[in-house]
Subunit: 418 residues, 2 copies
């Protein structure tokens, strides 16, 4: 007997037929003797429809009212799935965020979960063998009693937070991919599905562009040590053995569960990058602050930062990357601070990509990055900037070479499928 959280996204509950399919997935686990809490998203398309209405009513809408409108999508799915489960003879009831309650901050539309009391859910597992069907993405701000939402993709975060609150053995995220891959299989057909990924690795993979799981949910899993299992919602419920030691998918877990860590686990890449270089900055204390504080104030996320001596040998060049969507604003912000910073010129590029190599094994292996520099130079791929951390290094290259670079590194680190 295990205690499970099962999370299903919008495509898995897009219509009643699919909701019935989800019910059969749940029944499989219940029949195997497991205690189950299900977390559901809104039917696909519904959230977009609700957001569009709120925006049409007023472009500058009150986030509290936006939350009341948008949270209704998950409410509908939770009730429908409870009905579908009951039709299969399973004891089930729906729970809205305010009913459990899932207490959050009052940052409407992007609230953070503050606490969940899992006591009542656990009591019902024990006393009634009741499945809890929980509306994801939403909560309540206790002081005001108003509905909050966690921001886009928040249902993953709801699922992991609930798993922590009820001390679940595993949090299964059913999604439209069957796990986490060494890299995007559309770019590298030889990409392999990973059986296990450490939280730290998944954090890097997620924030570097692998779109399987929300970064926040991985962070939460790491902090509360919730084993998160990414698996396919398209597998037929009847074909799955609920007692298999590990069904097909990827387990995101603590390092201690990964017996023999690969040096490199995966390769992530992102083309939504822009590079800005500020040239011939007077080399004096406080220059970095003069550049990056205004960017932070403008809510622009700076990623890679590289500092070099300028070609005149006396001043400094500073290169950094920002999300492509913030590129214009970032340049304007720097221009406005030209006098404070004291630089000669600024140049920039948007046709750049960031490729990241990730693996907890890197900690104990030297020379991993050096291998990459050599292999890429053999392919005539120019590296514009480099950053490194304990378990990852990232390279900024010309966007045109992205696929070539990813494939080269994938082979280099022995990630190709046999």
């Amino acid at each position: 007997m295990a205690r499970l959280v099962m999370k299903f996204g919008g495509t898995s509950v897009a219509n009643i037929e699919r909701i019935r399919n989800v019910a059969r997935h749940v029944k499989r686990e219940v029949d195997a003797g497991h205690e189950v809490a299900v977390v559901v998203s809104a039917m696909s398309g519904k959230t977009n429809e609700l957001v569009a209405w709120a925006t049409e009513a007023s472009a500058l809408h009150d986030a509290r009212e936006y939350d009341a409108v948008v949270a209704s999508g998950e409410q509908v799915t939770s009730g429908l799935l409870a009905i579908a489960l009951q039709a299969l003879g399973i004891q089930a009831r729906s729970w809205q965020g305010w009913q459990i309650p899932i207490k959050t901050s009052d940052a409407h539309a992007s609230a953070r979960i503050l606490g969940i009391d899992g006591g009542e859910l656990i009591k019902r597992f024990k006393e009634r063998k009741e499945v809890a069907v929980i509306a994801g993405f939403q909560g309540i701000h206790e002081e005001t009693g108003r509905i909050t939402t966690l921001g886009r993709g928040g249902s993953d975060t709801s699922a992991v937070a609930i798993a922590a609150a009820i001390h679940a053995d595993r949090c299964d995220i059913y999604t439209d991919v069957d796990g986490v891959y060494t890299t995007d299989p559309r770019v590298v057909p030889k990409a392999r599905r990973l059986d296990k990924v450490a939280f730290e690795e998944m954090l890097e993979l997620a924030s570097q562009g692998a779109k399987v799981l929300q970064v926040r949910s991985v962070e939460l899993g790491m902090v509360h040590n919730v084993r998160v299992f990414v698996r396919s919602s398209f597998d037929k419920p009847e074909d799955i053995d609920p007692n298999a030691s590990q069904p097909p998918g990827t387990l995101i877990c603590g390092e201690e569960e990964i017996v023999e860590a690969q040096v490199v686990t995966g390769i992530a890449f992102s083309k939504d990058e822009a590079q800005i270089s500020v040239r011939q900055i007077e080399d004096k204390p406080g220059v970095a602050a003069a550049i990056f504080v205004p960017l932070a104030d403008a809510n622009i996320n700076v990623d890679m930062i590289v500092q070099n001596v300028s070609e005149d040998g006396k001043t400094t060049d500073l290169t950094f990357t920002v999300p492509a969507s913030d590129y214009v604003r970032a340049k304007e912000t720097i221009s406005r601070s030209k006098d404070t910073i004291g630089y000669k010129s600024m140049d920039s590029a948007t046709d750049v990509a960031k490729v990241s190599v990730i693996g907890i094994g890197m900690r104990s292996h030297a020379g991993v990055a050096a291998q990459a520099f050599k292999a890429l130079s053999e392919r005539n791929i120019n590296i514009r900037a480099i950053t490194t951390s304990e378990i990852k290094f990232s390279l900024l290259i010309d966007a045109a070479y992205t696929e070539l670079a990813v494939r080269t590194l994938h082979t280099l680190y022995g990630l190709d499928q046999a």
Copy 2:
């Protein structure tokens, strides 16, 4: 300064443009200095969509889950209208049934309102000049903390109940007709809009087939003495004078407000009737019970009842009407009890209609019904059965004569427009 409840149905909030129009109606009253609570239905079509999903998930669905699903429709509208009001510079917030709370019984899908604490709403009128935008049709059962709904058309009931709770001066029901008419204008083009109708009259009009207002909401208005005003949601908000002593529409109020009561106020009719006659019943005590108790047990509403001596002069004939939809079940129920009842034959008709003449003035006027009998007989309209009460009498006739009978009576009682 007055305190108003304004209720808008599904067609009035069918899309964002119409929700903006509703917001302008509300603004008009706020600008005139009034304190306003708005009650809204789901956008038209939404409730049907949600009900269809619940039914598709399982024909025999849990009413508690049905309520969680269906209540989401009003939640969406309340948030959207609050946004639209704020866009016009009006302080507003949405309220779900569980937030106020609107406490109800646990009869899910047809719950009754048990109590509403209007204190917080009134406090916000005073302190913040805030408009309360309330999701109609829903409440919460306090012990279980679960969402309830009041049953179809329940938003009218919500509106009147809230008006009672906040001691509103008037409850305005905005609808797709501009008031209550002496009879259906599609049948009698000369039908007149009534300025005022007494609660008792409206109850008879509503239950006899005038589909402007839910019977429950009229009952509630009568018990709590809430003045209910039926008016058109299609009038342009800008064309209405909020300070007019009475804008176009019909006020449903206590008799004391109706200075000079007409003898006859209106004529209602219904074609959804079926007549069943049980012939040659042995005339002994307990026969009526033997017929009507099984019908009541089968949840069949018996309306008109007429008893006559049979043609053989020794036994009794009993004629009664039931809703056309219960006709087959009613006949079966009687057949099953044939031995207990002891009757010779049963005949029935579905091509019958009930025409009702209503007016509180009847109490003090004799011979009102006699005039009708005479006028109808001059038109060769045969009366199959008659029932009377203090303020109404109803006639069962052949359905083919419905329109003729209604027009004849409308003219007879001086209800035609000048």
